[in-house]
Amino acid sequence: MAASSQSDAGLRVSLEVEIPSDVAFIERVVDLVRHSCSELSFNSHQLALNVPVALSEALSNAILRGNLEDPAKRVLVRARVDDSRLVLEIADEGVRFDIDAKTRDATDPDNLEREDGRGLFLMRALMDHVERFDAGPVGTLGNVVRLTLARG
């Protein structure tokens, strides 16, 4: 394709996806974000591993831990991609949480045989930055988890 021999400079994509609190939507959101990154020539490992896994983790946390699968609550995903990086923001409507306190070292021998608790660990391992901030002012609900990945 002429497109791939073309520089990416100046192409900027931003994507907003709103879904119900239902894990069945995760795969489609991942597809959409991954497709945007592929148009900006992110490398194959980033497209097959870092982006899909980290985003899936953030989405299932938002749906299951944040919104507790409440059908009245929604998850909003914002992805901005340009020729230097991907910035993902996953917003839920749930109770705030302390991301550092909740992150477990999955490689600790005590945790190795646990079934759960690898989500935040993997996000941090697969992304350059993982941040959490409040979605709204004091007293309101909602977490935003922001994942940043430099194009490799």
Binding site: H45, L64, E113
Partner: protein, 110 residues
């Protein structure tokens, strides 16, 4: 995404087609537990046709491996591509599982 199960000799072989994630991992778990209940002991999960696996997918593999061991059985994994290998290495799960490069090698390793 889907899981297809067949017998090769006395080994139950499961192919994971597509993703193994929070939305479908229960299906994999149930299928394997059903076989275990039926008395099967040797299990091979083949990832040749797998896309990505999330932490809940990894969690199901950990829990199946435990349950199979408790019944005196064995679980082996095969055909992890480079990205899936990285995922197992990052979580040190490569130390918990018997992982073979090819299906044939996995089958003959039981």
């Amino acid at each position: 995404m889907s899981f297809s199960i067949k017998k090769e000799g006395e080994i139950v072989v499961v192919d994971v087609e597509g993703q193994l994630i929070v939305g479908n991992r229960q299906e994999l778990k149930q299928k394997v537990l059903d076989e275990l209940e039926r008395g099967e002991k040797k299990f091979l999960i083949d990832f040749a046709q797998t896309g990505y696996i999330d932490s809940s997918g990894l969690g199901v593999l950990v829990s199946l491996s435990k349950k199979i061991r408790e019944q005196g059985g064995e679980l082996r994994l095969a055909n992890l591509n480079d990205d899936l290998k990285t995922l197992f290495e990052l979580t040190k799960l490569d130390t918990l599982f018997q992982i073979s490069d090819t299906r044939d090698r996995a089958l003959s390793s039981f």
